[in-house]
């Protein structure tokens, strides 16, 4: 008789040998592979959500003493532990990173300091943080507010004066900007148009200016002169506004004690992060998030909003869907209902499946060579010869980018449509035909309505794919900063030849091409979060839709 513990241990050892003999431990390993995949995706999403969503939060500004008696003021951003080598010697001491702002004074945004040299960390309530039109953030102490060189408020009143007067100054600056942008832009466009008319006339008259009707020339000259007067007037007006806006300035001192004057019109946001209540912080967060979504980019895209990129992405996706849907659906109906089934159609199917695996950059190269240079260049030669050598359609633009992506995504729509046509119950079709409907009537009235959700799934998947694609767009019309949106109030409203901005390209450009990548990183994370949110939502929608269709037909009465 053995003791119970012995039986237990014997049983355990038998189980272990069995585990290895039957290989079931490998089951755990393959589970490990799956959990790795799951952890990767959740980790990535968490990383983006945390970094992206934290960007707008007003962080406390910390003041610390340095060993040499100086002080440092900034947001604590990161810390590095000390590293030792094999012998226990410290190779690298512990470091603390501050985001010190004040880029135009220091020449950098971030500062690493050895942690041992820092002491007395505190968050003084009176520290002011500014978000400015230029040079990024400013951290310092408010001294007074002055108007036209004379102090108007000092001490505690200065803060209230700053907040009160800032809106007025911002409004003036915005007015000046509006004049520059819209009215002056309009005048410029008019002058351009008049000059173009003259150029066309010169061309028609045989290439010589002298041959053009002198009355016409005088008319154009007078027109241009008149518009130039308007232009000068507008310019003076906007300059006066800018000067008036800059009259009121806030005077700050940095942590080193240096004085810094900031015009109120250049202050996007002023806040005292260390004394903000939770409610104020949430308000600040929401206001910055709102600016991000509908604002214009500033500081070579590293600050401000991404509205033009959102607009460009959505616009391009819509044009793409408008092209890809009819073509994809017609091709699918042809393959499914009209083409003679045989090896040829099988080949075509393989080719279409294959097309889905062709690298997107290959489509981009085709788009550039065919749409931009061949078709666009041809359109320019026929319809816009007076503009040459400046290309109109013969350069990258939203139309060509959308068409390129339509080609890229057409297999998705074809495959999804075919699948949904196939899942329409045979009985419904036969019923229709038995009642005397023609083939086309059957398709339009029975098959198409039944397969609409499936088609929609395909289109949504195509949209998600298109919205996330960057490589082909880079070479067919996306730019880092588009001066105008492709849809606006000036005739013909929809400007298919314009270049546009795109969220995906924005990520690439700001993350890899901007001069100050470290400072731009939070912005890129936020843009990434936005893009992923759009794409994940589209995908989830498509998945839901697909499941619903499947369920509907599984329980179908036919």
């Amino acid at each position: 008789m053995s003791t119970p513990s012995l039986t237990q241990s014997r049983r355990a050892s038998r189980r272990i040998t069995q585990l290895f003999r039957r290989g079931d431990y490998l089951l755990w390993l393959s589970g490990g592979a799956l959990s790795l995949a799951v952890l990767l995706i959740t980790g990535l999403l968490l990383l983006i959500v945390m970094n992206g969503a934290a960007f707008f939060w007003p962080h406390e500004v910390t003041l610390a003493d340095r060993a040499d008696g100086a002080k440092v003021l900034g947001v604590l951003t990161s810390a590095q532990l000390e590293r030792k080598d094999a012998g226990g010697q410290i190779i690298k001491s512990a470091q603390t990173q501050f985001r010190v702002g004040n880029r135009e004074i220091y020449g950098f945004d971030f500062l690493w300091l050895p942690t041992v040299q820092l002491s007395n960390f505190r968050t003084p309530a009176e520290v002011v943080a500014l978000e400015r039109e230029e040079y990024g953030d400013f951290f310092g102490y408010l001294q007074h507010v002055e108007h036209a060189g004379k102090p108007i408020a000092t001490g505690p009143e200065a803060w209230t004066a700053l907040l009160e007067r800032r809106d007025g100054a911002r409004e003036l600056a915005a007015e000046a900007k509006a004049i520059q942008r819209h009215q002056i832009g309009e005048v410029n466009a008019k002058i351009q148009k008049a000059k173009l008319r003259l150029k066309v006339a010169v061309k028609e008259a045989g290439g010589k200016l002298d041959l053009v009707d002198s009355a016409f020339r005088a008319e154009i000259d007078a027109y241009v002169a008149a518009e130039n007067v308007v232009y000068e007037k507008l310019r003076a007006e906007s300059e006066a506004l800018v000067a008036r806006a800059a009259e009121t300035q806030a005077v700050f001192t940095t942590v080193e004690g240096a004085e810094k004057k900031v015009p109120l019109s250049a202050i996007v946001r002023a806040y005292r992060p260390n004394e903000m209540s939770l409610g104020q912080k949430v308000g600040h967060y929401l206001s910055r998030a709102a600016e991000f979504v509908h604002g214009e980019p500033r500081e070579s895209n590293t600050e401000g909003g991404v509205w033009p990129a959102i607009f460009g992405t959505v616009m391009m996706t819509i044009i793409m869907s408008a092209v890809v849907t009819p073509f994809g659906v017609i091709a699918a109906f042809y393959l499914r209902e009209y083409a003679k089934q045989g090896p040829a159609v099988r080949m075509v199917r393989i080719a279409i499946n294959n097309l889905a695996g062709v690298p997107s950059i290959v489509f981009g190269v085709f788009g550039l060579g065919f749409f931009v240079y061949f078709v666009g260049g041809g359109i320019d030669r026929i319809f816009f010869p007076e503009m040459l050598p400046t290309p109109t359609f013969g350069t990258g633009g939203i139309l060509w980018a959308s068409l390129t992506l339509a080609l890229l995504t057409v297999p998705v729509v074809i495959v999804a449509t075919e699948e949904s046509i196939a899942s329409v119950p045979r009985g419904a079709r036969e019923g229709s035909l038995a009642l005397g409907a023609s083939k086309f009537q059957t398709i339009v009235n029975i098959v198409l309505p039944a397969s609409v959700p499936g088609i929609l799934t395909g289109v949504i998947l195509a949209m998600a794919r298109g919205a996330g694609e960057v490589a082909p767009l880079m070479i067919t019309g996306v730019v880092k900063l588009a001066p105008e949106l492709p849809l606006d109030g000036s005739f013909p409203f929809l400007h298919l030849d314009r270049k546009f901005m795109h969220l995906g390209f924005h990520i690439y450009d700001v993350g890899f091409q901007s001069p100050n990548i470290e400072a731009a990183k939070p912005m890129v994370f936020t843009t990434t979060l936005l893009l992923i949110a759009i794409i994940v939502l589209l995908n989830l929608f498509a998945i839901r839709l697909r499941d619903r269709i499947r369920r509907k037909y599984q329980t179908g009465a036919f």
Binding site: G31, G32, V38, I41, I48, D210, Y338, F366, I475
Partner: protein
Amino acid sequence: MSATLPPPVRPPGSFMARSVSRRVKLVDKIATLGIRAGGLGIIVIVALIFVFIGLETLPLFRAARQTQVFEQALPGAPAAARMLGLGVDEYESALYYLDATSGLVRFVDIASRKPDGEFPLAALADTKATTAYRLPVHDKLVVGTADGRVVFAEAKFRVTYNDDGSRVVRPSLNQIGIASVVPGGGPVAQTHARQNSNGDYLYAVAATDGRVFTGKFVEGEPAEEAKEVRGEIAGKITRLLIDYEGNRLFVATDGRKLYHYYLDENRDAPFRVYDLPATITALDFAIGDVALLMGFDNGAVESWFGVREKITDTLKPIRKIHVFESMPAAVTCIQPSARDKGFAVGAADGTVKLNFSTSERTLLTHRLASGIQQLAYSPKLTALMALAGDGALRFTAVDNPHPEISFKSLFGKLHYEGYDQPDYIWQSTGGTDDFEAKFSLVPLTVGTLKAAFYGLLFAIPVAIFAALYTSQFMSPALRVWLKPAVEIMAALPSVVIGFLAGLWLAPLLEDVMVGTMLCVVIMPAVLVAGAVGWAVMPRSVHRRVAPGRELLLIIPLALLGFWLAQSLGPPVEAAFFNGNYKQWVFDVFGEQFEQRNSVVIGIAMGFAVIPIIFTISEDAFSNVPTTFRSASYALGASKWQTAWRVIVPTASPGVFSAVMIGFGRAVGETMIVLMATGNTPIMSFSPFNGMRTLSANIAVEIPEAPADGTLYRVLFVAALLLFALTFVCNTIAELVRQRLREKYQAV
């Protein structure tokens, strides 16, 4: 996917009742036509994509086109042998030559072949020109005289525009200066000159008595005295050559020798003397003054340049590098192009060929009636002039857009100027005119395969095992949650993965590299330990976890393994890599550790490829008929034994096709490699450095490439290559899948 669909319903055409209205029939007919046209149209357009890309690459491989504009003797010209320094202006409006008999520089209007002005060269008033060399750029003439002097002159072309925009070019002549070279005033037999970046002239002169002089002439300053070059030179000097630094001097003689001097080192003896199989009868530098273009009296045409013998050498002896199509008779002249590495060669039987140095291509050939005296290649490379011994001048328009491309220059090893051996190099643009473009697609293809390899190295085991687990061991309730998660992983834009890999993962991984590498060992070890622990747990514990939900235990274990590996990282690094693995890598492998390396690419690319391989192999595993599994269980096999010995072999073609499709995706991936590598085109499979792939290369370079230029078309070749690679992979995968389906249907 499509082949699993039920066969379509095809109603017979005569099915329709006769009472149906004609309008319905008409609509039906029109719709049939429309859908057929639309459907076929879209399929044709798709096919056209690749035809179009292929067509765009074709001009690269076409020979140059030539059109003879005229061939005639010039009015009022002296005998061909007395016409020196033949040249043509940038606009190809006027040609010019120095009439050695009269000392006049004569201009001839090309359109009308009428004289367009003649200008006496003042320095030739009381002597005769014996030889002249025209610099390939800026219409500069260097004339050797019978009294031992060298005259510098330039043909000037003043361009004005008429009111109607038409161009008027007025030629004139400007004498820049004179240098007395041969002491005692013996006649000059040969001369060669170069201009350095300041515009100063460096010249070399051979006197008829065999002495060689070199000197420097600065415009507007009194001429410096020329210095004699010493050393035994055997035979009569046939050609000589000096570089733009005035340092390297080459003297060719009819003793079948070539003397190579480094004048700054030693003016008294040549650095090397080369014995040649034949006598050099034509010699010049290709643009950039690195490669010597040589023509021999036996018709051979070669290009030589300096190659170090040891890595420490500063002086490089020259060596035969490129050999071109042989001329039928002795070579008489060589005319290098002013813009690229091309050159024209003329022979004693009147043959003219246009060659390109890098690609060793002969681009065009034509023949005149008698031996070629002079050649001139227009500055814009669109015209070639050849003057024959009988005085006939042939003016040929040349259309030669892509001389540097041949099959070999795209895919073979080439010896580029300045390199010590032939190599595969991609370097499409350089700062200067004399830059030799290097268009080898091999390093890019290697980079593409390298990125895909490291990506798959990570993705294949993870994706396939994960798929196996999902399809075989997991409870359906969990599966419902998991599959959408993986589908979302597939939908993540690659720009996001690339951004995170380049800006977040790469710097992070640099710090925790050792710990991350340890994960490969420690995570499986922890999981196996977990399996053992689970096995010895009493049954009552087992019962609490529903079958197929072990994953809920495995995930924390995997996290534990990851944490363990990361915390073991620093001590392991300290113990085995002296606390600095980067230094260790450098010491052991001799390679610099780059932050954006193949490990980063492997993880990022793996991330992009895992969902694809996962989805397709999961399908393959799930589609194995359940009877197989039941039979295996009935015979007493364990879960894993069933999965590994029954399910996996049956589904293996599906898994193979999953891997092929994953490979196709990895090959074509652009944004990840663009953002997460250093984009250096190198030929190395080392995991410690990065790569440049075909796709990233296209994305980087095509925005800068002028339409229809050589680079533009080469990038189309790259796109075609990329397409071919993925097409082959996808087709194989598709065929394998179809076979697999047929097999299952049979079961």
